[in-house]
């Protein structure tokens, strides 16, 4: 088997080389950068007039063009930048040229990093990809004025959440754990501060955001539904730059500066919420000293050693802290070291080594007042990885990518120390280790001027080890109140040094583009994604305390196959971009939970799991206006996401808790003058399904719901709709008469709607139940009745004001 695999991989690697072995040519290569701050530009276009061919710069700003010998005039363009034309002589040797292009000058405050060619959505091979530049994100009216990347991508077609304040996001019917959120190549496990109200990414430190929902290239793997690729700024290589802001929730400050001009620079950006500082005067007695804050620090240094070597070191550390005597804290930390190396002008390497960690702590006695009666619980998931990625620019029409990754996982699902009256105990779930090996090769070729193909395959292997002397195996015993899942566990002896379970998978990837006119194209894609880790979450919204678990001998890896078709057309000289996409996804090995599943600190939680399959399908319509005073987009998604799990809903299909039939988003931004601009967004979203008891009984005079085992999605929460607006006033000068500044005024939930998050029943706090029924001859006992409650997470409109500055 492995011989066959290596043969296939070898063939895939060699095939494009053989096909395009050609007569003598020379290569023009180098970096495209912003002239103002030296940041590498992602996806800038470089076009050779004479040959009517070109390419675009990669994620690191590098480009490579192999051309027949000759004199050429090349044009470098990027949206938001002035066009640059250069005459070059490519006659004797390969040429190494860096281009620096100027920003369009129209904009005052923000660095425009918009790595897009005008018609990229039509002409590029990728589909189901959304890029929003930071400039646009910054203009979207935001909750409490806090610019938020994750909330912004929720306005794109195919992206949804279970509701306001929910952690994470759902892409094309996938669960929140199926998104690979990468921050400078390191995965981030929880992308939210304060549950889901704010995202952990500091907008001042982010350079580029790309969401891939389908047609995922072979270089990405490890999650089943989407890739959110976030690139941090490198830091201004020319001048000292200070950005900051003062809002109602956060204060932000970032400093970037050259260390050696044009050679080395850094950025350090920090944010902290100060709600607790503001609230302190109002907290008395037991709650004085209560903490609730969240903060994050993002930092990066880079050094261009020479034309062929650059290194980058970036890190993130963020934390949410809640509590008084009893409290929680949680957060991510990542560290990544990258090396960009140009082997020859045609072969580019990005090698990354990273560390990522997500952990939380829950403590009943943060201040250690009562050491004899406390409870302290920690949980953690840890990654370390090395990852070389090669790009071989064979010709302008043929690019080969290949690489691999070794990724180690350390799972500490939960460990608790408890003491009662001095007696101490330690318990929880044992730690687990795993290693994921992967290798991929992908090839993008322009078969003809109208047809492009991208195909590839990723191979992944996952080895799981238990760090305990025993392991468990599921055995079917029949469903009963004692065994709600129908399974019990058998205990077996384990050899800690041996691999307990191994999985391997091929993940084919395929994209096709067919140009159907000057500004229209048809695209098709297929991808298979494998995911070896799972977030155990049985609540309406994921909690920060949910536990990531490995695939084991009892839990199989998630497999998702997706087919997507799309039609892309631009109008009015690319003023309007439109796309219509349909997709179908098939999910295997989806996890669900039996009634009364206990997922915390429970070494035998595998007993409580249920398994099944899923399917999701939908249609996404996207109309975007790129130019003019009025810009923005309208997106509409018609979708369904369902699962079929043995033991739930009588074994029939039922909607996932993030199933949203209709989603409409309208985002509009209007630039009235250089001084004033306005933004608005509107959302209409079908409510999520929910499960509710069918009957009501009384026990000890308390009303309770009688539920058939495994009921799912028997009611739906009413639809959600909301309008937000904002106004931005730019000032020519900031503090002390220097730099630039702006005021941002916004109102979230303008028409003050109480949007429902969920519906449930709860005991009624009602004294009238005390009254004796008239004429009743018998003693009447007090009853605790039931009532139906509709919960709105945000119950009012929220005005806010933010001041941003830049030196």
């Amino acid at each position: 088997m492995s011989k066959l695999i290596s043969k296939i991989l070898f063939f895939l690697l060699i095939f494009p080389l053989v096909l395009f072995a050609q007569e003598e040519k020379l290569t023009l290569s180098g970096y495209i950068k912003d002239s103002k701050n030296g940041e590498g530009l992602i996806g800038a276009s470089i076009y050779v007039k004479e040959l009517k061919t070109g390419t675009s710069s990669n994620t690191y700003g590098f480009y490579s063009l192999t051309l027949p010998k000759g004199n050429y005039s090349v044009v470098i363009t990027s949206v938001g930048y002035r066009k640059l034309t250069r005459e070059i002589k490519l006659v004797v040797n390969n040429l190494n040229l860096n281009f620096e292009i100027n920003q369009d000058g129209q904009e005052l405050a923000e660095v425009i990093v918009k790595g897009k060619r005008d018609d990229e959505n039509v002409s590029a091979i990728e589909m189901s990809v959304n890029k929003i530049d930071m400039k646009t994100i910054k203009k979207i009216p935001a909750l409490l004025g806090e610019v938020d990347l994750i909330r912004a991508i929720q306005l794109l077609p195919g992206v949804s959440t279970v509701g306001e304040g929910a952690t994470g996001f759902n892409v094309r019917g996938g669960a929140v754990d199926q998104n690979l959120v990468l921050m400078d190549e390191a995965p981030v496990y929880n992308s939210s501060h304060l549950f889901g109200f704010f995202s952990i990414f500091n907008p001042d430190a982010v350079k580029d955001v790309k969401l891939i929902k389908g047609g995922i290239p072979a270089q990405y793997g490890g999650r089943a539904s989407s890739i959110l690729d976030i690139r941090m700024k490198e830091g201004n290589a020319k001048n000292l730059e200070i950005n900051g802001g003062i809002g109602l929730i956060f204060s932000r400050l970032s400093i970037e500066a050259p260390i050696i001009k044009d050679k080395a620079s850094f950025i350090i950006a920090g944010r902290r919420s100060y709600a607790d500082v503001l609230a302190r005067p109002f907290l008395t007695g037991n709650s004085s000293g209560a903490q609730f804050n969240f903060y994050d620090v993002t930092a990066k240094v880079n050094y261009n050693i020479n034309q062929n070597n650059s290194v980058f070191l970036s890190g993130y550390f963020g934390r949410d802290v809640f509590g008084n005597r009893f409290g929680f804290n949680w957060g991510n930390s990542t560290l990544s070291l990258r090396w960009n190396h140009v082997f020859s002008s045609k072969l580019f390497l990005n090698a990354t080594a990273f560390y990522s960690d997500y952990d939380y702590l829950l403590d009943t006695d943060l201040k250690n007042i009562r050491p004899n009666n406390q409870f302290r619980w920690t949980s953690d998931i840890e990654n370390t990885s090395i990852k070389p990625d090669f790009t071989y620019y064979i010709s302008p029409n043929n690019t080969l990518t290949f690489g691999g990754q070794i990724l180690t996982y350390g799972f500490s699902p939960g460990s608790a120390n408890a003491s009662s009256n001095g007696a101490k105990v330690t318990f929880g779930s044992p730690t687990k280790d795993a290693t994921e090996y992967s290798a991929y090769v992908g090839n993008e070729i322009k078969v003809s001027p109208k047809i492009s193909l991208q195909y590839g395959v990723r191979f992944s292997k996952y080895d799981y080890k238990s760090k305990e002397d025993i392991y468990y195996e599921r055995r079917f015993v029949g469903i009963s109140d004692a065994y709600p899942s129908g399974y019990d566990l058998d205990t077996k002896l384990n050899d800690k040094n041996k691999i307990l379970q191994s999985f391997s998978n091929f993940e084919p990837r395929f994209n096709l583009k067919l140009e159907t006119g000057i500004s229209s194209s048809f695209k098709a894609s297929y991808n298979r994604m494998t995911q070896y880790i799972h977030l155990m979450s049985n609540t309406a919204a994921a909690t920060p305390l949910d536990v990531w678990t490995s695939s084991t001998n009892n839990i199989k890896p998630q497999l998702v196959d997706q087919v997507a078709l799309g039609y892309f057309k631009n109008f009015g000289d690319n003023e309007y971009e439109t796309s219509l996409e349909v997709y179908y996804k098939d999910f295997q090995n989806q996890i669900d939970y039996a009634d009364r599943a206990n997922l915390f600190l429970n070494p035998t939680f595998e007993k409580d799991l249920l398994f099944g399959k899923g399917r999701a399908y939908g249609l996404e319509l996207y109309i975007k206006k790129n130019k003019g005073k009025l810009t923005g987009w309208v997106s509409y998604t018609l979708a369904r996401t369902e699962r079929k799990i043995e033991g739930l809903n009588n074994g029939d299909w039922f909607p996932n808790r993030y199933d949203r039939t209709h989603t409409v988003n309208v985002v509009a931004q209007y630039e009235l003058t250089k001084k004033w601009s306005f933004g608005a967004n509107f959302a209409y979203i079908t409510g999520v399904p929910y499960s509710l008891s069918e009957r009501q009984g009384y026990f000890e005079n308390i009303a309770y719901g009688i539920t058939t085992a495994g009921v799912r999605g028997n009611i739906r929460v009413p639809a959600y709709n909301r309008l937000d607006i904002s106004a931005t006033k730019k000032n020519k000068k900031a503090l002390f008469g220097k730099g630039e500044s702006e005021w941002v005024f916004s109102v979230y939930n303008l028409y003050n709607r109480r949007n429902p998050f969920s519906i449930y029943t709860q005991p009624k706090d009602d004294n009238t139940t005390n009254s004796v029924d008239a004429g009743s001859p018998q003693e009447v006992e007090k009853l605790v009745k039931n009532e139906a409650i509709q919960l709105s997470i945000i119950g009012s409109f929220i005005p806010s004001v933010t001041y941003n500055f830049k030196f």
């Binding site: 609730f292 809640f322 009256n421 109140d481 009634d595 008891s693 058939t708 998050f757 969920s758 997470i793």
Partner: protein, 311 residues
């Protein structure tokens, strides 16, 4: 610690929201619910205490029905112990409350270690349930201290300053003893949603780690919703329950508190009452339990109050 941390989590969420000047809100709504065929709801607990034993039978209703539960009358209810002794339960007041009345004061129905089988015949259905009386440890002490009422303990007619207590009992050696705690103030049971307290060994979640130690905080807490006054009589009862009965109470409480951002899908609350005809439209809910009981009573005396609890 499952439940206590969950509630605290919600409190903290609200604190967090308030700190952001946000308010979440709950609106009472009317909901159209499906019509259902009634289930039988059984509520019974046989104890080792002297006196009457009671089993209550009602019909379930549609969710959110306002009217009082409908008693099931004219049922034949009997309990047989594992020695074959039959105890007949009669609906004396014709209100669905079936009572066994001892012939003389010394006759006690529940005996430690015995197993009891319930049989109910009503409208053509026969329901059965079985439960054993497990062991229970003694309560060693009840201590109390003077304190100010916290937000939970405050309210109309409740003292702002008073006594808060803890009781101490050591779980019996051996994993899997389950208990329920009942607290009486001046002979009135503190009932309601917040007063459902059950223990698995010495902790509130199923895990072997609580074996053989002192019942942990907050299980041993007294006066959670109202402080006690001087001269109040405070009685704590510790009742043994079966592990399945512990599951029932745990889930019962979980379902009543299942709300908000982190609500779980509604789940079935276990029941040990089974219709012998599984095809009948009338299935069962509720619990037939059996308990050994130990108890301790004190009268609040300010001279005996402690300064601090021993923790």
């Amino acid at each position: 610690m499952k439940i206590s941390f969950k509630n605290s989590f919600i409190i903290l969420l609200n604190l967090g929201l308030i700190s952001l000047f946000l308010t979440s809100c709950e609106d009472v709504i009317s909901l159209s619910v499906p019509k259902t065929e009634p289930y039988i709801v059984v509520e019974g607990n046989i104890t080792t205490l002297a006196g009457e034993q009671k089993i209550i039978l009602t019909n379930s209703q549609d969710l959110l029905t306002e009217s009082r539960p409908i008693p099931i009358k004219n049922a034949v209810v009997k309990v047989t112990d594992d020695l074959g002794k039959i105890f007949e339960f009669k609906d004396v007041k014709n209100d669905g409350k079936y009572v066994w009345i001892p012939i003389n004061k010394s006759e006690i129905m529940g005996v430690l270690g015995r197993t009891y089988s319930l049989e109910i015949q009503t409208e053509g259905d026969i329901f059965k349930a079985v439960s054993k009386i497990n062991r229970v440890p003694k309560i060693d002490s009840i201590v109390y201290r003077l304190d100010d009422a916290n937000s939970r303990q405050k309210g109309l007619g409740k003292p702002d300053r008073g006594y808060e207590g803890q009781f101490y009992a050591i779980d019996l050696k051996g994993v899997g003893d389950c208990y329920r705690v009942k607290v009486y103030k001046n002979d009135t049971l503190e009932n309601g949603v917040d007063n459902i307290v059950v223990a698995y060994d010495a902790i509130n979640t199923k895990s072997p780690v609580g074996d053989g130690i002192t019942l942990s905080f907050p299980l041993r807490r007294l006066g959670r919703n109202e402080l006690y006054r001087e001269n109040d009589r405070l009685k704590v009862e510790l009742l043994s329950v079966t592990e399945a009965h512990f599951d029932f109470w745990t889930q019962f409480r979980q379902e009543l508190n299942n709300a908000g951002l982190f609500a779980r899908p509604s789940a079935r609350i276990p029941s040990n009452v089974i219709n012998t005809n599984p095809k009948s439209s009338k299935q069962a809910s509720g619990w037939f339990g059996t308990s050994a009981v130990s108890s301790l009573e004190v009268k609040i005396d300010k001279t005996k109050a402690v300064k601090e609890f021993n923790d």
